[in-house]
């Protein structure tokens, strides 16, 4: 212990009930899942956590993975590595690609699903991919002694700039639910380094159903960490119902429309990021076209 630096108190609830008791008394406590994001901030240490730290790693009910015919539920404290190895047979390929992109094996042992989704101001790969799958998050809100439970679509957890909004200052994301129906065309690309150079990074994810040379249920999300979390309903609706192959002019038009949208809604995205995202989006459509020829 050092004068001027108080060692934070660590609370270790073993159930959601115990957690509720602790958070009622220490509403400003830091919720600690994997801790990878918290500890990678440049000003992390020495720093004070005046109301203490709640270590979620002892809550077994947050570590479960369950499934039925329609969906799979994943506890918030499941690590990326656990999900990747347990979910090989049932998770959509795009989610597996996303999990593999989250650092290396060494880092994935520590990164948790809930922690990754709950970074307050930076959206990374997992949020992007889950936003285009039929997934939602169970959030428990603790307000003035009352606990309420809500299922929120992942896409609605964030504002357009990618900032997290759980609906309450004291809230806990306990599990996520991913539907097992997804499109047969899935693509996911990360460009740049989301950890070391998040300012130059971008994440693009798309999924769609291909039926009788046509596209349906297109879902698309592009994320620039700290700058934008963009789901374009306009482009999704223009693509859904399109016949394959999509005319090259239309591909070009849509990609430039995407850039126009992004520029209008998010002024901080750099030219290079926009150009890369546009080209990736175009390449997805070219891919769709080339596959439709077989």
């Amino acid at each position: 212990m050092y004068e001027g630096v108080r060692s934070p108190l660590i609370y270790t609830p073993r159930s959601i009930g115990e957690f509720s008791t602790i958070i009622a008394r220490h509403s400003q406590a830091i919720l600690w899942a994997g801790g990878t994001h918290l500890m990678s901030r440049s000003d992390y240490y020495p720093g004070e956590a005046r109301d203490g730290i709640i270590d979620l790693s002892y809550m077994e009910e947050l570590k479960r993975i369950t499934r039925n015919d329609r969906y799979v539920e994943i506890g918030a404290m499941v690590t990326a590595r656990q999900l990747l190895s347990a979910g090989r047979l049932l998770l959509p390929p795009i989610l597996q690609d996303t999990l593999r992109s989250m650092g290396t094996q060494i880092v994935r042992r520590q990164v948790t699903i809930g922690g990754s989704l709950c970074i307050s101001d930076e959206r990374l790969s997992l949020s992007t991919t889950l936003a285009i799958l039929a997934s939602s998050a169970e959030v428990k809100r603790y307000d003035q002694g009352k606990v309420t439970t809500h299922w929120i679509p992942i896409a609605k957890l964030y504002d357009k700039d990618g900032r997290l909004n759980l609906g309450s200052k004291s809230a806990l994301l306990t599990r996520i639910r991913i539907g097992l129906e997804f499109g047969d065309f899935q693509r996911f690309v990360v460009f740049g380094d989301p950890i070391r150079r998040s300012d130059e990074c971008g994440i693009v994810a798309l999924q769609a159903k291909r039926e009788q040379n046509g596209l349906s249920e297109v879902q698309f999300c592009v994320t620039f960490p700290r700058k934008a979390f963009h789901i374009s309903k306009d482009i999704e609706s223009k693509l859904s119902g399109s016949a394959l192959p999509i005319h090259p002019e239309k591909v070009n038009t849509l990609s430039h429309e995407l850039v126009a949208e992004l520029t209008k809604m998010h002024s901080t995205i750099s030219d290079l990021q926009l150009e890369r995202a546009r080209r990736i989006f175009e390449s997805f459509l070219h891919d769709l076209n080339s596959q439709s020829l077989f």
Binding site: M1, I10, M39, S40, G47, I106, V107, Q110, R196
Partner: protein, 175 residues
């Protein structure tokens, strides 16, 4: 906060701030010479240690999470037989990492070898003799360390050779 743990074979009771990163504990409180980095969130990959026999970035582990843990830094790892496999691979290729990243890179390679040689197979079955190397996966793992002293082709070659030594040693032991 008092934390009991085992570091490099020594049982220790540490009196540190509960949220102090393990890398700083090792460097400052224990004077461990094998760690030389604290990149403040730049993900340099130079602070690798083994926690409960698994490689981990020590700058991302707070003191309150090492209670009862068995931690091995490069200082004790370099005395192990596993290290010899990698050291021999360096000699065989004539290249090795620079002093700045040698320790961390070696532990990353160790982590890859453990994974590739099936040391952690869940069903306890012995590792397949000639497991095909997933090069893309290895490149991803190796890129955890950002030092640019070596290129991937050299590192992959070292991993391949070290894996060969490791598997041969295991087969000799079993037979």
């Amino acid at each position: 906060m008092k934390i009991e743990c085992n570091i490099d074979g020594k049982a220790l009771s540490l009196s540190v701030n509960s949220n102090k990163p393990l890398s700083l504990i090792l460097m400052e409180d224990l004077g461990n010479q094998s760690l030389t980095s604290y990149c403040r969130g730049n993900a340099c990959g130079n602070c690798i240690v083994m926690v409960n026999d698994e490689a981990a970035l020590s700058c991302l582990i707070p003191a309150f999470r090492i209670r009862g843990a068995k931690i091995r830094t490069f200082e004790s790892y370099q005395r192990s037989r596993q290290y010899r496999d990698i050291e021999r691979a360096y000699k065989a290729t004539g290249t090795k990492p620079c002093p700045a990243c040698y320790n961390a890179r070696t532990l990353i390679i160790e982590s890859i070898l453990q994974d590739q040689s099936g040391a952690k197979q869940q069903n306890g079955a012995p590792a397949a003799k000639d497991v095909k190397l997933d090069k893309e996966k290895i490149i991803r793992e190796l890129s955890l360390n950002t030092c640019q002293c070596m290129d991937m082709a050299e590192l992959i070659q070292i991993v391949e050779i070290a894996l060969g030594y490791r598997n041969r040693r295991r087969r000799v032991r079993r037979s």
